[in-house]
């Protein structure tokens, strides 16, 4: 029988490198939304910790272990990215598969904050928004999860259907920032 072929959200659009800043697509093994039920926050966090070695992060933060990550993405909501969440956690939290719902990008390079300053109202200043910090905000007109994973590296998540728009907006901003070299 024919097999259904998988496609990534930004298939064929990336990678892209402009003036030392690169935009690539990441394809995590799994993304699971975890929303603890009333009064179950601590229990959910403890179980997650025993299963994956990371607790549920506080608002605007992420935790990580062995290439997997737990990212705060909104009110009472965590995304576990990179590893599957065992069904036993469903005792304490609503688990929802989001593996196919998000386009995940890595934006990397010196001056990456300047690119994002064209698109998000967040203050991404290194002293304010540090490694491991996460925020739910806007990328252009799109709802986005923005996460600093390194000195010059951000991960950005937008809805899968908007992958092409996100790449277009990021590329435009990358080109505009690169063009400012002419001002030096």
């Amino acid at each position: 029988m024919v097999k259904l072929v998988e496609k990534t959200p930004a298939e064929g659009l990336l990678p892209l490198e402009i003036n030392g800043i690169s935009l690539t697509e990441l394809v995590p093994a799994a993304i699971t939304s975890l929303m603890p039920f009333d009064g179950q926050e601590a229990a959910a966090s403890a179980l997650l910790s025993s299963l994956l070695g990371m607790e549920c992060p506080h608002p605007n933060r992420s935790t990580g272990r062995d290439g997997a990550r737990a990212v705060w993405v909104g009110r009472g909501q965590i995304f576990v990215v990179g590893k599957a969440v065992d069904a036993s956690v469903a005792r304490h939290a609503a688990l929802t598969d989001q593996s196919d719902a998000w386009a995940v990008f890595s934006l990397q390079g010196h001056g990456v904050e300047d690119v994002l300053a064209r698109l998000t109202p967040l203050d991404l200043n290194r002293a304010v928004f540090k490694r491991g910090h996460a925020a739910r905000s806007l990328l252009g007109h799109m709802s986005a999860v923005i996460l600093r994973t390194g000195e010059n590296t951000f991960e950005i998540m937008v809805f899968r259907s908007m992958a092409r728009t996100a790449v277009h907006e990021l590329e435009t901003a990358m080109r505009a920032v690169a063009a400012r070299d002419a001002l030096r």
């Binding site: 605007n60 009110r75 739910r136 905000s137 806007l138 709802s143």
Partner: protein
Amino acid sequence: MRIRCPLCGDRDSREFTCMGHETYMHRPAGEGWGPAWDSYLHLRDNPAGVTRDLWYHGAGCTAWLLVERDTTTHDILRVELASDAKRGNA
């Protein structure tokens, strides 16, 4: 304009939408139409001074916020999660 979301912190106004006065949190009892429902749905004060509105952090954490602000100075005096306020009142 900026609002300090209790979860996300200080954020630009473009992430929020305003629904209106906090009255919307206080649904009248009873299933029959009457003056209480009319008032709940349609009648609002327009204070020059302190008021409390509901704002939705739709482009952020999706929390509904209860924002106390002064309509004459635009000062924002207090922001709390609407769910906390509702539980407190219940």
